[in-house]
Amino acid sequence: MRTRDFVAVRRAAAAAALACALAANNAWAVDCNTLPSPVYGIGGSAQKPLLARLGARMAALAAPRTLIYQAPGACLGTNAIINNTRLTGTASYWTAAGAEQTCDLPVAGQAPDYASSGTQATLCPGVTALPSGLGDFEGPVTTWNFFVPVASSQQSISTEAAYFVYGFGRDGMAAPWTDEAAIIRRDANSAAQIIVGLETGVPTERFRGVDAMTNGRSISLVAMATNAQAAIGFASGENVDANRATVRTLAFQHTGQTCGYWPDATATAFDKRNVRDGLYWLWTTTHFFARTDSTGTITNPLVRDFVGWFTGAIAPPAAVPILDLTIQNGNIPRCAMRVSRTRDLGALASFAPDAPCGCYFERVATGATTCAACTDSAACPTSAPVCRHGYCEVN
């Protein structure tokens, strides 16, 4: 090859390498603020699957809206909305086809419009109360699951066992979970770790094991553990359910119970029956935090809409079937619950929703229900006289 050609080839190679480097750094991602009606959020990775489903539907509306989300951790999100900390770097959004994309946030940063978390704000480090002008709106229920690789023989864990596993590590002698390289944890800003800490009494900053950083990585680390019997982790139920091919939820035996229960009626079901009935203890509601006016109304209309769809305060458009999205994601709308609590892991109370959707939940979650189908209440029996979402409910 002649020298001139060699130089040309070298220049082309260098140009290609530069292009690759720029692409790897996401330099060509779209600017977030050029997307249609962007709404900026920050919070935990537990909510990301649900927000992905919602974001795709919002992007497909006739007047598209773009749900943008950064997931550094539940409490980092809560603190960001409280302190109005600007989001920087990149964030996720979803196309109408459901594809996750990345966009560039403004160089000067972007104030968050909402935050989402699997815990109440005051459980977060540094938060003693929500400031006035910031509202806490409760969305669907999420479970928190201990899980093991599918190859593990373990079936259940108790509050006390989790105390030894995460509070003592190897020295806890809670076999087979004694290898701290296979005990997967999160950090003090994680809703999952806050809930497990609240349940066990282990302070969130003193957990033993390997920090997985996100719910998704917790699952992959447990799933890929070389010693399946020794591996254990915890994450939000919807994330675990989406990975049942590789990990398996353990039945959980809360202090005072004599047997452990799965979130579902059986280890393989998807009905969330034991959560809805109160036998499965580890669940919380999803919290959305947003700025409000003096009447408590969310000021950002885009946030007000989608949070209202979840809470029931605003009827969603037909193109955003919020109940279906919630149920299909593995969450439980509050209208399908038969127990309630007023704070994370607080006492349970029997609960009868004003407009129950238990039958519809069962139909969507499992593909079947024993409830009578209906088109209006006249077709319903006296024992379940109200037709809701196509099924006869008790009220």
Binding site: G256, G260, A265, G346, G358
Partner: protein, 140 residues
Amino acid sequence: MNGSTLRRLALASLLALAACKSTPEEAPSDSGPIVRDAQTDATADVAADATADVAADVTNDVTADVTNDASNDATNDVTTDAGADAAADASCVGDGGCYACPPTTSTQIITRCTAASCARFDNAARLPRLLADGGLPALP
């Protein structure tokens, strides 16, 4: 609640357990609030350990409250409820120590007689570092 009171409540539960059997009832309608669930074979294996569990679990509650920090409100709730439940109606103790009456408190809800399948974690057998009284040692 002190240890003496809890011991009395545990004893009351044990006596009730010996005297009563739960009556299987229909599983609740999916669309209504919790009323009462059935005790079936699915949880029958728990029955053999029931007597010991009732006492041990109450003890665990007490110890956990002492050992764990005050932030563990959930455990406090359960312990408070447990005492009230046991004192309220000993005739509501069903097979395996489950709560066989319509549940009205948190502990009654999570310990009620149920047809749900379950997997017991035997704390006493599997946790060698439990204290002799079934309690939890302080964190290292």
